[in-house]
Symmetry: C2
Subunit: 513 residues, 2 copies
């Protein structure tokens, strides 16, 4: 047959197959892509920009039972989850699944939507504040699914979670959806948790309070992944976006733990040229970083990289030449945000690159040393960072299980006894991170090495450090605290603790009133 | 049941579904991902690095009928396609499909594999030299599929082409597959065409001659997309990697065409603040760029971006502040490579971001002005850049059709008559780019505006420029050349010209000997 250009083209060509004939350069408006997702291709004359959330909602394919995703880079200053859900609740939609990388106290307004059945399911890597309380009280219809940071990327990449619409807070964007997090009044730094959303959701809305002219030259997430750009007055409260937690502990017990940890690291053999390092933003962890910094400087050790959520302390180590590069999934403070914008070797990575166990190699696989916290730990080195000692959800794995699994030396730092409560339990309330991935527990009363690490036990056989068995530490603690009363729960499962590979490592039950 | 940590977990949980129980942190070694691809997840203790191609070939899942992909950033200096195919041919595999973004004269060695049935199918956006000749002679078993640069990304993203193994030439890589093209002895600049391969192939091998320690901090393609890293002595010949074509024409007729083009652009109304611009690396196109540069400087015009394959001429315009940013899919010369490494606003983009019509908005959609060449053009403004006037394949669309479709003003620049051959034909040998996407033809004998652009015809009604109808230009040319003898072909279809949306715009037939 003749096509519209007058060319003779067969309908079928041997070795090629059935022919789709040319039918005008704008004829093919629909594409199929990864996981058979249908999406609307954007043509040269299409507009993505909206300045009125209500008008945007009118064009979105909203429906009961839909799955919506959000990222948590605006932390406890986030406005986006709240104002999007308010619009959707006002329109009467029900039975919605929220896939938020983390949920903070600022998200209190959504408790009402949980109670009313607007939101009936939640996926998150970390939940604290009123939403966590509501879940522990059994108010959410379906059990919350608490995954790891890497697990969230895996859930989306494998299609186990199919997101209908991703709402992406974007501190800076142009009208076509080229986004970064390092500029604008709501700058938050790296946007690592948003990558899975934009790459795997059916439809993606970028929401910005800093619209710049095309092209925004600093691009962390690009235009090919964004369907709509919504401009609003403010996406967050700068005071809540930057964490107030990035201070070295002043507590003398905490400093003692940090000192023992640094000495353990020094003697472990892992602190040498090329070493890679990760620590959280907690007070003891930062104190460890400060001591490791001095050790590296004194011994002229140059490491390869520091990774994870990045703080000003880690940026300082990079600036002093102690690390060749930083792998940054999220920024904890202003220094980190500034560095993420300015330092070429401050590499912004996706949560998948950071910690997904089902890709072709996450950064955690290359980690030598990670310093992590614990709410509770048992004698098998299983760690709880999901629930408090009252049994109520107050956190979650985040990158805890991911880095523990990937690193060569995973050290848990904690006060052994705090406010008459021991971190070491006969049975911990919830298992977040399996003990087989935890190597060492450092407390002010001594250091316990996991018996699985025979090499380390051998290495520290003659150490001057207070090496104890974990059972010995538990006994010491029990003498100080007495026998603790077990927490009582209802039968209802209110949360699933998913390991990074999607298997279930534990469940959380409803608290007794 | 009890899981291996001793926790009581039901096999099924209401609202969650069937439970996959925790079975050890390394238990889940297989992931499923986009398009149900199975791939091997990389664990902390897995090694990706090979230094012997033969040992790597032993572990690759090679088979008859497989599909292998390659990118063309090493241009006419590429060694990779040749040495990989040599290994595979030696092992006796047959019936292989090659998905190479472009094929150059340096790929002459694969003609032998085409003749022997080792390679029976080829996808490419551009083919020149001995392989093109062999295809035109009917030596390839199945018709070659000639797509656009954006079309190649689309073919892979939609799964229409499923690549078994992608071999990615990597001028710099670490042992985990963090890659860039801007460093190393075989530096080639941006790696835009390789992104579709690494994102969509079942298995990806990076091949480098510059292995650096982990982490390589300048990352264009990251470790999560790479299965193996192969280190070899040399991936290419630097003399062939950088094109020798990026020189402004010295031909007075070419300069006349460029001068008319610049004047047309000036009067068109498109040359104003925020203008975006693309031109190729041909001599006339570069002369147009030089004139546009002067116009912008004289009129204090600041553009938004220049895009495409980037040359030193375009880098100069950026450095002089005439563009806010560069969108770079490939670098044509050393100046461009240097800029791609050093300038933060020199943005490296994937071919999909550049030109795919089935994503959420390609850069070509934002193009105001593009300057393109032609081998032949007809009075409906259909353009051939696929075959020469002898009917033999000598090129292909590359970004031609993509930028023509996306841009607001697509100008074809060409000598009207060259060596007694007119560019304007009654019937062109092959249609590469449909005339409805072409706005203007500029020749030394006059300028023809596509009648579809009534706005432009109105605008230039009283212009002092030599505006002609395209029929008038054709008559002028015919008086100089006489009637040309039509080329004769065999019946066999040797190549399919695929439009950017996957529809077939034309076919190429076997030449008569």
């Amino acid at each position: 047959m003749k096509n519209i250009l007058g060319r003779e083209i067969p309908d079928f060509i041997e070795g090629y197959g059935k022919v789709t004939h040319y039918n005008g350069y704008l004829a093919n408006k629909m594409g199929t892509i990864k996981k058979d997702f249908n999406f609307k291709s954007i043509n040269p004359y299409d507009n993505k920009l909206y300045t009125d959330i209500s008008k945007l909602m009118d064009v979105l394919p909203l429906k009961d039972g839909m799955t919506l995703s959000f990222h948590h880079h605006l932390r406890n200053g986030d406005y986006v989850l709240n104002f999007v859900m308010k619009e959707i609740a006002q329109r009467g939609y029900k039975n919605i699944t929220i896939v938020a990388s983390s949920i903070f106290p600022c998200h209190k307004p959504i408790v009402e939507y949980i109670e009313k059945g607007v939101i009936t399911q939640i996926y998150a890597g970390y939940i604290s504040g009123p939403v966590a309380q509501a879940i522990s009280e059994g108010k959410l219809q379906k059990p919350a699914i608490m995954h790891t940071h890497g697990g969230r990327a895996r859930l989306m990449e494998t299609g186990e979670v199919k997101v209908d619409i991703a709402f992406v807070a974007a501190p800076t964007s142009d009208e076509y959806g080229n986004i970064n997090g390092v500029e604008g009044k709501s700058a938050c730094g790296a946007l690592g948790y948003a990558h899975s959303d934009v790459e795997n959701a059916h439809l993606v809305v970028a929401i910005t309070d800093n619209l710049v002219s095309f092209p925004n030259p600093i691009i962390e997430i690009n235009q090919t992944l964004i369907d709509y750009v919504l401009v609003v007055e403010a996406i967050g409260d700068p005071k809540g976006i930057v964490s107030g937690t990035t201070q070295i502990t002043k507590n003398p017990i905490g400093l003692k733990v940090a000192d023992l940890t640094a000495k353990f690291i020094e003697q472990s053999g892992y602190l040498k040229d090329g070493v890679s390092f990760q620590t959280g933003a907690g007070g003891i962890s930062l104190a460890v970083a400060a001591e490791v910094k001095n050790l590296m400087k004194n011994k002229n050790i140059v490491g390869s990289f520091a990774a994870g959520g990045i703080t000003g302390y880690i940026v300082d180590m990079y600036k002093e030449g102690l690390f060749k590069a930083l792998f940054d999934v999220q920024c904890f403070d202003l220094e980190a945000i500034k560095s993420a914008k300015e330092n070429p070797n401050h590499i912004k990575m996706s949560a998948s690159m950071y910690a997904n166990c089902n890709n072709k190699g996450a950064v955690v696989n290359k980690l030598d040393i990670v310093i992590l916290g614990a709410t509770e730990i048992d004698t098998a080195f299983n760690v709880n960072v999901t629930t408090g000692s009252d049994g109520i959800i107050m956190g979650g794995s985040g990158g805890h299980s991911d880095t523990a699994a990937g690193s060569k030396l995973c050290i848990i730092v904690s006060q052994l006894v705090n406010a008459r409560i021991s971190v070491l339990k006969e049975k911990i309330t919830t298992i977040t991170t399996p003990g087989e991935t935890v190597d060492v527990l450092v407390t002010e009363r001594g250091i316990a090495i996991n018996p699985l690490r025979e090499d380390l036990i051998e290495k520290f056989k003659n150490s001057n450090l207070p090496i104890r068995t974990i059972e010995e530490l538990k006994e010491i603690a029990e003498k100080m605290t007495g026998k603790e009363k077990p927490i009582e729960f209802e039968e209802k499962i209110v949360a699933i603790v998913q390991y990074r590979d999607g298997s279930v490592v534990d469940v959380v039950k409803q608290i007794k009133k």
